[in-house]
Amino acid sequence: MNTGLVALKRLGRHREASVLLMLLVVAVYLSFASEYFLAPRNLLNVGRQASVVAIVALGQALVIIGRGIDLSVGSVIGLSAVVAAVVIRDTGLESVGLFAGLLTGLCCGIVNGLLYTRLKINPFIATLGTLSVARGIALLMTGGIPVPMGGIAEFVGAGRIAGIPVSFLLMIVLAIAVHVFSVRTVRGREIYAIGDNPKASRLAGVDLKATRLFIFAFCGLLAGLGGIILSGNLASADPNLGVGYELDVIAAVILGGTALSGGRGSIAGVVIGALLMALLNNAFVLLGISAYWQVVTKGLVIIFAVALDGLQRGGEDE
């Protein structure tokens, strides 16, 4: 038969397909509706705007694939940014500051992981707790006043290489690395295994605790990186940076076809999910849609993107 059709059908079987389709539909519509949309500068803006959500979503995706959830990413973004900025301000050493920021993210992730694996706290509640604690610490450290941020962080957050935003490049590199990690390495495959069937995985000798600790730590690290990029972009580390990010990040992951029940999901899908969300925001600005309609449209697009998938696939677990 027609090979194109076959290829299309094969694509359709992937869970990312419907959100990719939605992305294309929005993009095609925009390229007709706004003469500015296809300008390289605008497209790169969209890429940059998606990058922080996408980078943090890479970590969140692994957590969700492994049957966890991390609600604390938004606060970890804020805390890491603040720690990096404060250390830079107080020591004047930029590399030490950035390292401290990343380390903060990593530590928050490890705390989440330990709360889950050692104290057996449901990750939803554990990370809801760290959400509050991390934000509180960021506020305490700064007295609520933003700290200026610059240098390397600003280059990463706002700089361009050959016209391409650094944070976008970083996102691409990280997405490829995490993709390879998730499909090719032992740890990566074990994450899928524990998400799909934790008991069977444990019986097969997979170290549940170590794997879970790893995914939370990794997610924390990426949230820390996200905090540095975001504060670099804004040249300011606000203790309120990243408030509410967790919902955007989780939405990107799930839009991209990752199952909340664990075991399924792809990195490509996550990136597409984040791009769709950034594209929507770009569309609102380009088309001058009123705030209230923005809110309605955003909801409808999310529903449609996933409805396509659901309708095509039919029920699952029943």
């Binding site: 803006n45 609520g144 006043i145 933003p146 804004l234 606000d238 770009n282």
Partner: protein, 298 residues
């Protein structure tokens, strides 16, 4: 002559069509006069071959939304931008726009980090706080207990408004005891609960200062507790919700930021700069808020 509600007149346009982007949020009644001011500017400047396009940044206030909005306006090749930058993190993109030859006029609130904007018109949050502080001092006769409710811990404007008042009172009215601050996340229902609890643990409280969203919730709590006349609420913005309690007396002072005038004047001054190179009168044009009391509401 200047348009109605504004203080600046437009000059003759010799440059050809001018496009100005007006970037602002929309999530509560505060923004309504801002939007109206932008529309009035558009109507007024139409006669000068210039348009002011209102671009809605959505209902969630964040630095990222402002950055994305300015990036979008640059992509759409506007000649100039009026923006509500609010956050520290917006300085970089404002500088970028200025460097790209697109002047930016800040209104309402800007971050503490300096930027190369053409000018800023708005209320200085710290001095507004001070203004409120003075008012509170008078109302309380320099003694008693004052409850403080702030919007978000860590939100610059909220913190400045709070500290402006609190620092002033600490220096000038040491007998006024501060209870709080507590966070109400701009929510009236939280303010309501907080006032209830504050009155429980401080039955002698006589004044509540709400720095940001939802002062009317505090006023409603005062009303429900039957303390009208004994406890007063001071806060910001002449929204209908707040004004109502000014009439009934729970709200004793409401400071506004003349948002309509800010929006209109900023647009016209930016237009003047674009067509004639007329610099605004100052880099920072202060707007002194209008402090309404129950007497004004009658």
């Amino acid at each position: 002559e200047p348009p109605k509600g504004g203080t600046v007149a437009a000059v003759e346009n010799t440059k050809g069509p001018i496009k100005i982007a007006f970037l602002s949020f929309q999530n509560n009644p505060f923004w309504t006069p801002v939007t109206d001011g932008a529309k009035a500017a558009n109507d007024y400047l139409k006669g000068f071959n210039a348009t002011v396009d209102f671009v809605d940044l959505g209902n969630e206030l964040s630095a990222e939304a402002v950055v994305a909005g300015i990036e979008g306006a640059l992509a759409k090749q506007y000649n100039g931008i009026v923006v509500v930058p609010i956050f520290d993190g917006t300085a970089r993109i404002i500088n970028e726009a200025t460097e790209a030859g697109v002047p930016v006029f800040n209104i309402v609130a800007e971050g503490a980090a300096p930027s190369e904007r053409l000018a800023f018109i708005g209320q200085d949050a710290t001095s507004a706080g001070e203004q409120i502080g003075k008012f509170i001092q008078e109302k309380m006769n320099g003694k008693g207990k004052l409850g403080v409710i702030t919007g978000y811990f860590g939100a610059t404007q909220h913190t400045q408004r709070m500290n402006g008042a609190v620092d002033y009172l600490k220096a000038n009215a040491p007998d006024i005891q501060i209870v709080g601050p507590f966070e109400n996340k701009d929510k009236a229902e939280e303010a309501y609960s907080l006032v209830q609890d504050m009155m429980t643990s401080n039955p002698d409280l006589s004044m509540v200062y709400v720095t940001a969203g939802g002062p009317f919730g505090a006023a409603k709590a005062v009303k429900d507790l039957g303390l009208t006349g004994k406890v007063g609420v001071v806060g910001f913005d002449h929204t209908p919700d707040n004004m109502q309690y000014l009439k009934t007396g729970e709200m004793v002072g409401l400071l506004d930021q003349a948002p309509y005038q800010q929006a209109l004047d900023a647009s016209v001054m930016l237009y003047n700069y674009l067509v004639a190179g007329t610099e605004p009168p100052a880099k920072v044009i202060p707007v002194v808020g209008n402090l309404l009391t129950p007497a004004d509401a009658k």
